[in-house]
Symmetry: C2
Subunit: 425 residues, 2 copies
């Protein structure tokens, strides 16, 4: 029969298992981040190629495609590695399901590239295809962040996910602005979409700043020098504050693209910093838990069968529950070993409770996205529309009513309670 | 390289692993329920023995002790079995930590019994010791309910935990009333405590009714015939509505004990029904997931490498996201197999999302207890008092202000935000 101390050791082993799995998950997230960056560049280059009728960026594209291919291969290997580790705690099923969803997208890349090379689809269709694939990859990152069971690591993953999402929105903004300036005019529909991209982007970076530790947050501030931001804001203002349909200076096209690209490439540096911090944190947490396990196991070897029944009675059943910060029992108490085992149990249980509380807080930041997804699903079912249409409907309502997307999603979900019960919730 | 369908299969395997672990957890919960029932009886019998100076219930006690011992052994074996299954998803560390905490209490039982037999401790001390052990066992059940990852099973475990908790409160009420009637008087402190036991008990049974399926809830209503409830309420009223210090008819002592005992023994039948329903549900869910896995694996064998790149392109990147309830693609579409794989991914991902949403809802019912625990920990740290004292303080405040315990706990936690930062949260 296992003793109390034996179960303490089991509890620690569970923690170590989870930390080791988390380390693999974090490595996957970092690899996905690099692929997303490559795909974002390939999306931009492909656009220029298509818009220029194949005249520009053919060489750059070849280099970029090779890089994307190598990184896609790395992501596939990371998927396989994740699977070969067997049982995963908590959200394993959801994580694998997201991977199952995104893999056909990776399989579709060669055909997409073939059509881009043959100029047989237009820039908008190419952008949509790349963006859909990137969204699928980010959904895997989201699930990884949602499944983390250590609050400090979860906190960094939430920062990372929001940064990646913000970066993708910045990429979409670059594309949106590029076609506005290139076409020489803007209209109110695109202006609205553009402003929405700015808003959502800023919200992501706020969440990033809230959950990141100091290093990456500091780097992020430093790579946005005021002069560069002033230029970005000036170009945004020119395009978005102009009355609908007014002509735009097509000469600004290159300035816009360069300004956005400098910013987005800088983001990649922040992401790499986040990745390093994440890896170090995983290593540190695992080392810490291992050291504790070793100490416990040594004690387990020496403690024989633990306190005898009379001692257990006094310790467990007579002792008042000790206050969290109570001073330790005086050394003259005469049964240090047994008391220290019970203290260890209390200490561990308090630590686990604190971790669980902290985790709830961090995860709340992910709930927003979940609520929006749920509202979308509801609209899709109720109005028999596609996901894109549902998203557009939510966004449009938010813009019309000057409310945040999450507020509209919450209204939709509340309303659903009042709908007939044959509507799936 | 694994295909999308391969990862679908991995996702299903994760689900099956978790269901199998859940089945073991449920078996543990049922075993703990039986031990708690035995310990509740032993607590009552020990009380009578101690109050009667060893004159009454000596034979009953011997029988009851033997039963408790056998069940404690079964619980220890279930603990060990749980541990030998290795890695546990999600809250494994917390579950093992709760077990580590309760094991010294089980070790202390022989010494407790020795002192009861020697009449060397009083009824109140014996009751406290048994109650502390039972609370530790219920904390294991709580953790088991909190860690369940299948919403339907989680729902039943929440019903079960609340029923067990309500039953324990009913047991404490029996003891409280028994000593009031036996002593021939009641005072306002005991009246307040008594009314609190009734309130908390009713709250537990409400939660049970909310989360239980129809069978056990119906049984619970049927074992509380109006005549019996009227008698219970009459005795409660006599003792609790009387002015403080007024004499009570000691003749009512036996009626009170019998009335409560009939009710509590009836609860045991409900608990057994809950246990059966839980086991059946686990079996059914596992069988269902296994059948689905088999179907997927068969498909995996026949599907070779899945759709080729051109098909993947059309399916993943060109297809609009299908609405949840969209009609299936017409049969003339010509690539049923590949489409059906993508449909399966979408279908599974929707199912997992719905499960996760439902799980959040069910778990919210457990948050109440967590908030109260957190508020207690805060008071313990801040005022350097014991857990019992902290609980009493919360309860007293709730009674004084005529508020629910959870409301007081929330106020304490809100207040903590305003306290100096050196206070641990």
């Amino acid at each position: 029969m296992k003793t109390g101390l034996g179960f303490l050791v089991s509890a620690l082993r569970c923690e170590i298992d989870e930390l080791e799995q988390l380390a693999h998950t974090c490595a996957l997230v970092v690899t996905i981040g690099r692929l997303v960056h490559a795909l974002q560049r390939e999306r931009g280059i492909s656009n220029v190629l298509l818009v220029s009728g194949g005249m520009r960026f053919a060489a750059q594209r070849a280099t970029q495609v090779a890089e994307s291919q190598a990184l896609a291969q790395a992501v596939r290997e990371a998927f396989d590695a994740l699977d070969s580790q067997g049982r995963r705690p908590g959200n394993g099923a959801r994580l694998f399901s997201r991977i199952a969803w995104v893999l056909p997208g990776l399989n579709a890349l060669p055909e997409l590239r073939h059509r881009v090379g043959a100029l047989s689809l237009d820039a908008a269709a190419s952008t949509t295809a790349f963006s859909k694939l990137i969204a699928g990859l980010l959904a895997v990152v989201f699930e990884a962040a949602d499944g983390a069971t250590n609050p400090e690591i979860s906190r960094r993953l939430v920062a990372m996910f929001n940064f990646m999402q913000g970066k993708e929105l910045a990429g979409q903004e670059r594309a949106c602005g590029a076609s506005a300036f290139a076409s020489g005019r803007n209209d109110s529909a695109r202006q609205q979409q553009w402003l929405h991209l700015i808003d959502s982007q800023e919200h992501c970076f706020e969440l990033f700043a809230e959950f990141s530790d100091a290093g990456p947050a500091e780097l992020w501030r430093s790579i946005q020098p005021p002069a560069q931001m002033a230029e970005l804001e000036r170009l945004r203002r020119i395009a978005c504050a102009a009355p609908s349909g007014v002509a735009l200076d097509t000469e600004l096209s290159q300035s816009w693209f360069d300004c956005c690209t400098r910013r987005i490439d800088g983001m990649q540096a922040v992401e790499e910093r986040l990745a390093t911090a994440l890896r170090e944190l995983c290593e540190q947490k695992t080392a810490q838990a291992r050291a504790e396990l070793q100490a416990h196991e040594a004690l387990l070897g020496s403690a024989a069968d633990g306190p005898d029944a009379a001692q257990a009675f006094s310790l467990f059943l007579e002792a008042p529950a000790t206050a969290v910060e109570a001073t330790p029992a005086p050394a003259t108490y005469g049964r240090q070993l047994e008391r220290s085992i019970l203290d260890m149990v209390q200490e561990q249980s308090r630590r686990l409770q604190a971790m669980s509380d902290e985790l709830d807080t961090v995860r709340a930041a992910l709930n927003e996205r979940k609520l929006v997804e749920r509202a979308k699903g509801l609209l899709m079912a109720h109005r028999r529309i596609s996901e894109e249409e549902a998203h557009k409907m939510l966004r449009q309502t938010a813009m019309n009513q000057n409310r945040r997307l999450i507020e509209v999603a919450e209204s939709v979900l509340t309303m659903a309670e009042l709908l007939p019960s044959d509507i799936p919730r």
